[in-house]
């Protein structure tokens, strides 16, 4: 009971802050619009995928949803360092709640934000004319989006817990998220690249999110969806554990 209330309290604060921060919500919508509209629609005309019956825009859309979740969730981790810099972390650390509850509350908070943004991108893609397979697949994809949100928020939080300053997080974040996005099979099909590149792509957790979303939304599939979900779940749990460990060493 106490733990749940603590998790809820930490989560609620993230929601209150997010609700007041309309500007950053709007600006974070620009990037997926750019990818879908400029890249998907514009470039789609000259790209031949070799995937039958699917336009490039449709192929790209699940990847853009996953990408938006990746960026929002991962950079959500920095909030720990802002709390540290603004002094609020002391208020949290001195409270009689477990460090695991703090990390879980933070991860759920950031993941909720990322999930809602992913949902908005999904709606945008529908407005741009992307057609998805079935209502059932659509519903199931929400679960994958939630899992992806947790996974990358946990990753961002673990990284932030190991650092001292928000600026260093931003710097490292840019170097990690960009390759993750390009090497995720989001932009081109997995089997159409050399083996060494495919190996890198298979080491990237985002790959499994993109592929699972594609399976459920447009029925294009390169990896067994059970494997994808297993990989993402394991990754989330490991990052939560690592994050809790690093966070509990924090002094304020």
């Amino acid at each position: 009971m106490g733990e749940l209330k603590a998790i809820y309290t930490i989560w609620l604060r993230e929601m209150l802050r997010w609700r007041r921060d309309r500007a950053s919500l709007l600006s974070s919508m620009m990037q997926p619009l750019f990818w879908l509209f400029i890249f998907g629609v514009g470039m789609g005309r000259s790209v031949r995928l070799g995937v039958s019956g699917v336009s490039y825009l449709t192929f790209l859309a699940p990847g853009v949803i996953a990408q938006n979740i990746l960026f929002t969730a991962f950079f959500g981790g920095v909030s720990v360092l802002y709390d540290l810099e603004f002094g609020f972390l002391k208020e949290i650390l001195v409270a009689p709640i477990s460090r695991g509850a703090i990390v879980t509350g933070k991860v759920l908070g950031g993941a909720t934000t990322a999930f809602i943004q992913g949902l908005i991108v999904l709606c945008l893609s529908l407005l741009l004319g992307v057609r998805y397979n079935s209502p059932l697949g659509l519903a199931a994809s929400l679960g994958v989006m939630a899992l992806l949100s947790m996974a990358f928020m946990a990753l961002g939080l673990a990284l932030a817990s190991g650092l001292e300053r928000a600026a260093s997080f931003q710097r490292i974040g840019r170097f990690t998220t960009m390759p993750m996005w390009f090497l995720s099979g989001a932009l081109w099909p997995l089997d159409q690249c050399p083996t060494w590149l495919r190996l890198l792509i298979l080491l990237n957790p985002l790959t499994y999110g993109v592929d699972a979303l594609r399976t459920l939304l447009i029925g294009v599939n390169k990896i067994n969806i059970a494997l994808s979900i297993g990989v993402l779940t394991a990754f989330t749990l490991i990052m939560l554990g690592l994050g809790t460990y690093l966070f509990s060493r924090k002094e304020a």
Binding site: T9, G87, I92, A95, A252
Partner: protein
């Protein structure tokens, strides 16, 4: 009976820097206990260790009988704290900050709203409760933090420089909240400060801390008693050293200190000493710009034990008369 706080050999190194050096002391339940010391003395470091935010390098402490190293969660449950640096969420309203705290400390839902209202009233912020903290002044933020620290009925309250940066009027307000909290809620209070008056007026007992060590610990009255009856200050200037040596040679005062051209003597009968000192100054050819006599303050106690002043300017005199001396050699 269990002491509110029992500190034994508490030590903190930051790398090579020894910030807190094996300090030990005890605080009784219901007491207002002060840690008085200059910048960098180790006050905040001590408070952070006692509140489980920093791990000690050596030694330990108990708060309400719970060990800060082995039972940090139990310690966290019984303490409240106002940090030296701000610790509010500026993007939330005052009330939201309070509610966040109440939920973290599991204050029952039925009690929460009334308790928040009561405390906001205590610190006179009820009209500001629903505005973002971003819009609060520094003094209002401080008051909100004090109210917040009391929400969950802590048994021991830590206040790290509670009046730092406040104007004299707000400072007096905060002092009155602190004594009310202590009286009406029976909370043990441990506060740090480098304002002499604050330690003097508010605290039952004061530990004077310098360079990570406790140099003296007693009630303000007793501490001032150590110094002696009167404090005589002579403003001399660059020749101070010569005059001081002459006073020493004559054995006119047991305790004598010099800080930046100012000689301070602590003696029983200061008044009778003034003419003697002036005659001596004349003999050795040193000009004295002014003489003042007053009762000792805690700053004098600090000077007595460390040979330095806590802050550069002299403290507010309690009883003082000034004699402007004619400049000689004119």
């Amino acid at each position: 009976m269990v002491k509110a706080i029992r500190v034994s050999g508490l030590t903190k190194f930051y790398g090579d820097l020894l910030a807190v050096d094996h300090i030990s002391f005890e605080v009784e339940e219901g007491e207002i206990f002060g840690l008085l010391g200059p910048n960098g003395a180790g006050k905040t470091t001590t408070i952070k260790m006692l509140t489980t935010l920093l791990r000690p390098s050596d030694g330990t402490a108990e708060v309400c009988g719970y060990d800060i190293r082995r039972e940090p969660d139990a310690v966290r449950r019984v303490i409240g704290i106002v940090f030296q640096e701000p610790s509010l969420d500026l993007e939330l309203t005052g009330r939201e900050n309070m509610e966040f705290h109440a939920r973290l400390y599991d204050v029952p839902k039925g009690e929460m709203d009334a308790r928040i209202e009561e405390l906001l009233q205590l610190v006179e912020l009820q009209d500001w409760a629903d505005r973002l903290v971003r819009a609060y002044s520094g003094g209002m933020r401080r008051r909100l933090e004090i109210a917040r620290s009391l929400l969950h009925h802590p048994r021991v309250l830590f206040l790290d420089e509670p009046t730092l940066g406040l104007d004299p009027q707000s400072r007096r307000h905060v002092w009155s909240y602190i004594s009310r909290i202590n009286r009406e809620e029976g909370v043990t209070i441990i506060l740090t400060t480098h304002y002499m008056e604050e330690a003097d007026q508010l605290c039952d007992r004061v530990a004077i801390i310098d360079k990570g060590r406790i140099v003296a610990l007693d009630t303000p009255e007793k501490l001032k008693g150590i110094v002696g009856g009167d404090v005589l200050t002579l403003e001399v200037g660059p020749e101070a050293k010569r005059l001081m040596e002459a006073i020493r040679r004559r054995g006119l005062a047991r305790n004598i200190q010099m800080v930046r051209g100012q000689i301070t003597l602590m003696e029983k009968d200061g008044e009778a000493l003034i003419p003697v000192l002036l005659r001596l100054a004349e003999e050795v050819g040193v000009s004295v710009n002014s003489v003042s006599l007053r009762k000792p303050s805690l700053d004098d106690v600090f000077l007595y034990f460390t040979g330095e002043r806590i802050r550069s300017q002299a403290p507010e005199p309690m009883m003082m008369w000034r004699m402007r001396m004619m400049r000689r050699g004119r």
